[in-house]
Symmetry: C2
Subunit: 427 residues, 2 copies
């Protein structure tokens, strides 16, 4: 079929008629499908149940260096867990604090602490007239929600296939002292699945921030979340790059096992310079007497090391890959060459990003809903929930079965076509 | 022996000589004892190891209402855990949010949120010139450390055998709109083991705060931590008392299983009015996608219900009671009638509070250290670490064995006598 934009009004009208019929049929099927949930499917959780056998009443509950995991203390995590998550991030264990079950709450905490107490002695952000964050878009809605909550102004930075537009990033960071941070998902980004190129990472490391308390919020959420054995993205390790570039304190890196073991019951960590960690620990010691060391021990013993974790991640990939491919095959088959949408082909992560014709995303999401297919709300991938082009839609293939994903994508492409035809007819 | 104050200078000097000899002997013994650690002893943790057998790879991981505890979601806790901790606090389950492993971090969070975002629409505390908290003393150092961290002015409120001096509390709370909170450990208080009388609780509930965002921070840390079967303190339930008095939103109550199961790996909760919980959840939804529901399930299934937990607490009491009695018996025998110190006889909790003659606490702690016995630093039970009378010392009998506690207390009473004699000789 030829591109929609090349169709005559008559052709478009005829298309609309056909598509409307198909849409009415689809509505009649009473579907109930959900492409919105970026969470593991039960099969992934079942595959991890061995985690529950690691510790029992006969277990030695001591760490390898003799700390009783059952009692108070050891605020920054047990040594085994530090090593495990350090290896996930390719950083030294001494640069890691292991927290509780959620990297999101570490990020919230980090922002909140900067608001009330500043960063390494700088002015607390609550005392400043203006604080700004750079937000590569499309991006992760929960990042944006945190900055919005604290009244931080968000500046949109377009994503490129190599990461954020670094010309813009450099301009803002190096010139505006109100810019205190940037949200990054450097590997298999949410929602596009883009991994930052080596040049992008090096340009990040070489920033010359106008603000002494500027930090890169490096959310390495999908560090080892590959879909393929033979095609995998790798990114440069940011801490050492920053150190080489003379900016040792410029990064907070985050990771967790939420999409490795159990989503609500994993362990999470931050990696940063010794100076940053010392600054953080001054507050941390008031917040807690220690995180859940038993669960840290459970995780460390379950995986033993990074190799154990990578073997586990292969099993995740085997479950997730067919779902991604089911979506992509329908998109390719039904929308290829029509010129009414573009989509990413990630090699890892949890999402596929779809860009519809400008001004169509909301209408597509709405139409899908009518036909029983739930999508992430249009705009969710932008600060304040507002996509200036009303174009981006996040597809989350992980939770439903491959068959459900294929069926849901069938409805999705139908809605994309119908909304696009209507848009072109209005033009 | 007659009271020290009635002794002549000669008698005191003779005492001092004898005591100094004994002290030199004690120093020569090379003791290494610690009465400072308010944490469970390994025997208590061993006795809870069955917790590790509750879940295994064959377990049904669903809650009773069908939530998969392994996945994301259910921000405010699983229903089973809500009921369990609600019963500990004698409140309805719908008034409870179950969090992660630490009630201290809930308290920190509560203060931090009030600083950045206010309470139910009130002005954020960071925008106010002055915020004050009432601090019943002696009290819990970590409470005071949080308020100090946020620059909140702390006002000392003396404890009485029935709880805080309520005349003072009423005066401050009802007259000063800068007073935003009061720290309370209402049952088996830290460090005195005092439980608030019914009249005290009712007077709390009947406060007429000058500040709309005044809250009582009710840290019910030792709700079921009795030492005896036949002698137990009970306190009135504060949420319902406040509701009856027309102050439904005036309390945040906290509890945890830190001293019930494993100290670093338990579950913690807050209880409050629906209006407060709704306010809190607006922020909570940005902080986390949910706390560790697997650990909540593990705890709920381990205990089944409050009765199960109470049976478990009896075993704790059997381990702790002899330690408390070992300390008290030495104090009674060696210091009874001397008029140089007073101490509490708690029926529960984790501490014994000792009041030395004014101006003696620091010197006693120092002397004990010389002889190899570590005590909590003098002043630690007061805001800013400053005991105006330099009198209070917190004794933590739980961690060492009964024999070690008796030996440590032998050294302690010797130091109390020696320092008191020296003080009286100076006078």
């Amino acid at each position: 079929m030829k591109p929609y934009r090349e169709m005559s009004k008559e052709e478009l009208t005829q298309q609309k008629e056909e598509l409307t019929k198909q849409f009415e049929n689809a509505k009649g099927m009473g579907l109930k499908l959900d492409m919105s949930r970026g969470k593991p499917t039960p099969a992934q959780l079942d595959m991890t149940m061995g985690l529950m056998d690691v510790l029992n009443s006969d277990s030695d509950m001591m760490t390898m260096d003799g700390v009783d995991t059952r009692n108070y203390g050891l605020m920054d995590g047990i040594i085994e867990a530090k090593h495990l998550l350090a290896d996930v991030m390719s950083v030294p264990a001494e640069n890691v604090i292991v927290y509780g079950n959620s990297s999101l709450s570490i990020m919230y905490d980090t922002i909140s602490r900067s608001v009330t107490h500043g960063v390494m002695g700088s002015t607390p952000w609550c005392k400043l007239d203006q604080v700004k964050f750079l937000c590569p878009v499309p991006g992760y809605d929960r990042h944006f929600a945190i900055t919005q909550h604290f009244g931080i102004e968000m500046i949109l930075i377009p994503m490129t296939p190599n990461g954020p537009d670094m010309d813009l990033v450099e301009k803002y960071v190096n010139e505006d002292p109100a810019v205190k941070g940037i949200w990054c998902v450097p590997k298999y980004s949410n929602p596009q699945g883009i991994s930052y190129s080596d040049e992008t990472v090096r340009r990040f490391a070489a920033l010359k921030p106008a603000a002494e308390d500027f930090r890169i919020y490096w959310d390495n959420a999908y560090a080892i979340h590959h879909l393929y054995e033979d095609k995998q993205d790798q990114i440069l390790e940011i801490l050492s790059e920053c150190e080489k570039a003379g900016n040792p304190d410029m990064v907070y890196e985050f990771c967790s096992t939420s999409k490795i073991t159990f989503s609500g019951s994993g362990i999470a960590a931050m990696a940063s310079s010794q100076a940053n960690l010392a600054d953080i620990k001054k507050t941390l010691t008031l917040q807690t007497i220690g995180y859940d060391k038993v669960n840290q021990l459970r995780h460390a013993r379950y995986f033993k090391n990074l190799e154990g974790m990578m073997a586990h991640m292969k099993k995740h990939a085997d479950i997730l890959r067919p779902k991604f491919e089911a979506v992509l095959s329908v998109l390719d088959r039904e929308l290829g060459g029509l010129g009414i949408g573009e989509w990413t082909r990630p090699l890892g992560g949890y999402f596929i990003s779809f860009d519809a014709m400008e001004g169509c995303a909301k209408a597509i999401v709405e139409k899908c809903k009518e036909a029983g297919v739930v999508l992430t709300g249009a705009g969710a991938t932008f600060p304040y929930g507002k996509d200036p082009k009303d174009s981006n839609i996040r597809i989350a293939p992980t939770f439903p079965t491959s068959e459900e994903m294929a069926a849901a994508t069938d409805v999705f492409v139908l809605c994309v076509k119908l909304v696009s035809v209507e848009k072109l007819l209005q033009a």
